[in-house]
Amino acid sequence: MQSFGISLDGTKNGETFAPAKDQFQEELVIRPLHSGDIYASFQFRTLWDTDFLQEGQKKVSHYRLFPKSLGQVLSKFSVQELHISFTQGFWRTMQWGQPFIPSPPGAELWVWFHDTVSDVDGNWKELTNVLSGIFCASLNFIDMTNTVQPSASFKPLGLGNATDHRFLRYATLPREIVCTENLTPWKKLLPCGSKAGLAVLMKSEKLFHSSFHSQAVHIRPICQDEQCTSKAWELRQTLNVVFDHYTSGQGKKEWSLFKMFSRTLTEACPLASSSKVYVDITDNPELSPATPLLSQAVVLGDRRTYSVYDLTRAETFGQLRSFNLLLRWKGDNMLRPLLHAERYVAGFGLQTGEIHTVIYNNHPYRAFPVLLMDSVPWYLQLYIHTLTVTSKSRDNKPSYIHYQPAKDRHRPHLLEMLIQLPPHSMTEVTVQFERALLKWTEYTPDPNHGFYVGSSVVSALVPSMVAMSTNFTQDQPLFSSFVPVKEESSYFVRVYTEPLLVNLPTPDFSMPYNVICLTCTVVAVGYGSFYNLLTRTFQVDEPSPPLAKRLANFIRRIRGVPLLA
């Protein structure tokens, strides 16, 4: 279905009027996992051939499919790329494989600003406040104490030639809670909202009753065509959810759209040029309703076969005008993920500790380099002289280390290392730290919960078993075209480790009250009684005479006669 718009032909003042070309595509990928869970990934992409960074006459003011709130944010803060994600739960790489779009627990925001920006920090601070209003999240807690400027990680995923890392900012809020109030404004950014198309499946009661839920917005400039002579802005909204085998699936490897989302599909979004559902049938599950459309895609280094359901065609919905997919599978072996990372805190007590990051290379014969980025808050004071990197119990010297020490209450630690992982090995990175004592106003209202340390990011170009395609075509499914592929033999992957929860030495906040009560009591009882003993004098006091005597005395005073006793 073509995007409809007013088309005016003719010239006026030498310029041709033509409708701004924007298109919207939506897709849903369902992948059964071998542990019995099911992974559903929604992707909504709006492509718009325009230039947000223009000023004055050519400033963009007419929005159609692209949401206006985001467009105004991009032009006001001169943003080149924006990636924001909200995640609840942790992605279990060993059980589920690699996700299409990885994200760390909590909220993550990284932004590339345009190189015309003079005050990047000021723009960053205002941008986080504006985004906190748009997404109903506490992103205003992002400030200089948890923002870092990575020097080699997080290269732009879109077009760009300037990679001066002064224009990059990265921050995570591991404690950020994701709930319906974040999903509501996210759904409102879609052209069809949650009324038509794939977004009708997004009911919060089912989406949040899952092992993993992640919603993200990715905005970047991309090539419009194969020759890549002009660029267009792409907005991708992705929602990844993994439904648990036991809590949602009742323990059976049998899933349907209705069981997952408590809804079925009735129509495609009328504004979408393509609306498809892909089901991963590489492991030969039983699928109904059957479809003749098949597609093969190489994604994450693996060639997989997908059944395609085109929702823009009426026959997909059948007689009942509703589309409900049924899936049943045995699920035996899974392709072992080649890169996997874990992180934990070792040590005991509330003074010192050790952070261990373990990276596994499961490739049988190839070694490849990985870039590990760690951002540790200032209250865990790292001792970098104790940093050790060992692979196969031998020292492994990283070929690039960038360390920026923390400044108390100003800046967190940033550690980036390029480590060569030997084949089929486990590499361990350890660093010791000491816990700081915070000022009593800096503690959160529930300090005994602990303090979070954001996930480490491991970025790598993993050698691929299957040749990846470097051709860029418009018909490529969205899930395989997120990361630009530069060479055929490897694919880019980013793995996030667990966040850490660390207890800091916490004072007893009731002590000031206790001390005041005790001191005042001691002073009042001890000193007070002593003072009274020394300074109190006693006087004899005669009781007041009865009324009759007082009256008699009064009359006697008038008569001038001496008074009674």
Binding site: E15, P19, C136, T180, E181, E205, F208, S399, L461, P484
Partner: protein, 387 residues
């Protein structure tokens, strides 16, 4: 002669107009336009943290639900929830907050927008929202943009005592601070009329100190009394609502946007037989008689509609967007994507030039000390031998 005739004519016209206006004022149309407010706002605050205070979040969300149902849009509601109960890991049914046992009514809904959540709900932020003194980068959804024609509903719930309300178990707001905040709002003309409802223990102490005009206050219990919670749900494991707000919700479910229920009905909600505590109210600062104040003046947002039969000429339509002219600057060279992990480039990366900062106080002091000691020991006259 004609002058007198004109004057008489004018007098007749003026008297006719006055009679007409008087009639308008007393007819239904007149009554329709007589209430002083043009827009409605609501500030709903839950001040308690931790799972066992589930009922406070449910209280706030039930008022939120009623207020939304009666017409106030999300852009005019500032909702502050100090903790997340719906997606809490202890919640057996995620993304839900129930108000009635056996999970009958989900007050969290599918369309909720929380403006301040978690650690953001502090006394300072609450007072800043009320008085409007927020940092310039605060987004619109977090601001109370009321004017002098706004009716504001303020609902507070949590743990309180005689003269204070606890925020997140770590700080309190006193009744004097609240009264002063309302006075600031009055001075800045930030409200037309304000309805203050509080559901805490000893809630009446919070409105004792109010002194600004046009304030009406309701509390769930008197000084010296505790507000009690209503009913637990055995599946969720905590108490779901407080008694006062539970009966308030039941009362509000009967109200619809066109209802004529007034404040006297609201004062009768939850008598002592149902609530165990004695709800109180305060109307001495309020100009109008409570019997003439509709519930929807504060809880709803009844839009006043004027029907007109005149034709209005619209301005010319927006010009369609201009496409970038092709004859301009064409980038002939093709753009490329950036290499995601350029290993060679990273290894040979030059360390980025740090901006030069002038030495800070410590370094300057240290050098001054060294120089002083040097001159002390060696004396000025030896300088020429050294240099």
């Amino acid at each position: 002669m004609s002058h007198d005739f004109l004057q008489m004519h004018l007098k007749a016209v003026i008297s006719c107009l006055l009679i007409f206006l008087y009639k308008v004022h007393t007819t239904k149309a007149g009554q329709f336009f007589s209430s002083g407010h043009t827009n409605n706002w609501a500030v709903l605050v839950c001040t308690s943290r931790f799972w066992f205070n589930y009922r406070h979040v449910a209280n706030t969300l039930s008022v939120y639900r009623s207020v939304k149902r009666l017409g106030i849009p999300d852009s005019h509601i500032v909702l502050m929830l100090a903790d997340d109960m719906a997606c809490n890991y202890r919640n057996p049914k995620p993304a839900t907050v129930f108000s009635h046992k056996n999970m009958e009514l989900n007050v969290y809904g599918d369309d909720v927008e929380v403006d301040y959540r978690g650690y953001e709900v502090t006394v300072e932020n609450f007072l800043r929202v009320l008085t409007g003194r927020l940092p310039p980068s605060t987004p619109r959804s977090k601001r109370l943009l009321s004017d002098d024609r706004s009716n504001i509903l303020i609902y507070l719930t949590g743990h309180g005592g005689n003269g204070f309300l606890k925020f997140q178990d770590s700080e309190e707001i006193s009744n004097m601070e609240l009264a002063d905040a309302f006075e600031q709002m009055w001075q800045k003309r930030r409200y037309n009329e304000l309805l203050f409802i509080i559901d805490t223990c000893q809630g009446a102490s919070m409105y004792e100190r109010f002194y600004s005009p046009n304030l009406m206050a309701l509390a769930s219990s008197q000084v010296g009394e505790d507000s009690l919670s209503h009913q637990p749900d055995l599946a969720i494991g905590v108490h779901l609502m407080d008694k006062y707000t539970f009966y308030l919700l039941e009362f509000l479910e009967e109200v619809h946007p066109a209802s004529q229920a007034n404040m006297n009905d609201l004062f009768k909600v939850c008598p002592q037989s149902q609530c165990v505590s004695t709800p109180g109210h305060r109307t001495d600062l309020f100009q109008r008689d409570p019997g003439s104040v509709l519930i929807t003046d504060f809880f709803g947002s009844v839009r006043k509609v004027e029907i007109t039969k005149d034709t209005i000429n619209l301005t010319s339509p927006v010009e369609p967007p201009i496409q970038r002219s092709g004859s301009g600057d064409i980038q002939i060279e093709s753009l490329t994507y950036v290499d995601q992990l350029p290993v060679a480039e990273i290894i040979h990366q030059k360390p980025k030039q740090k901006d030069w900062h002038p030495p800070d106080g410590f370094i300057l002091g240290l050098w001054t000390l060294i120089l002083l000691v040097f001159f002390q020991t060696y004396g000025i006259k030896h300088l020429k031998h050294i240099f």
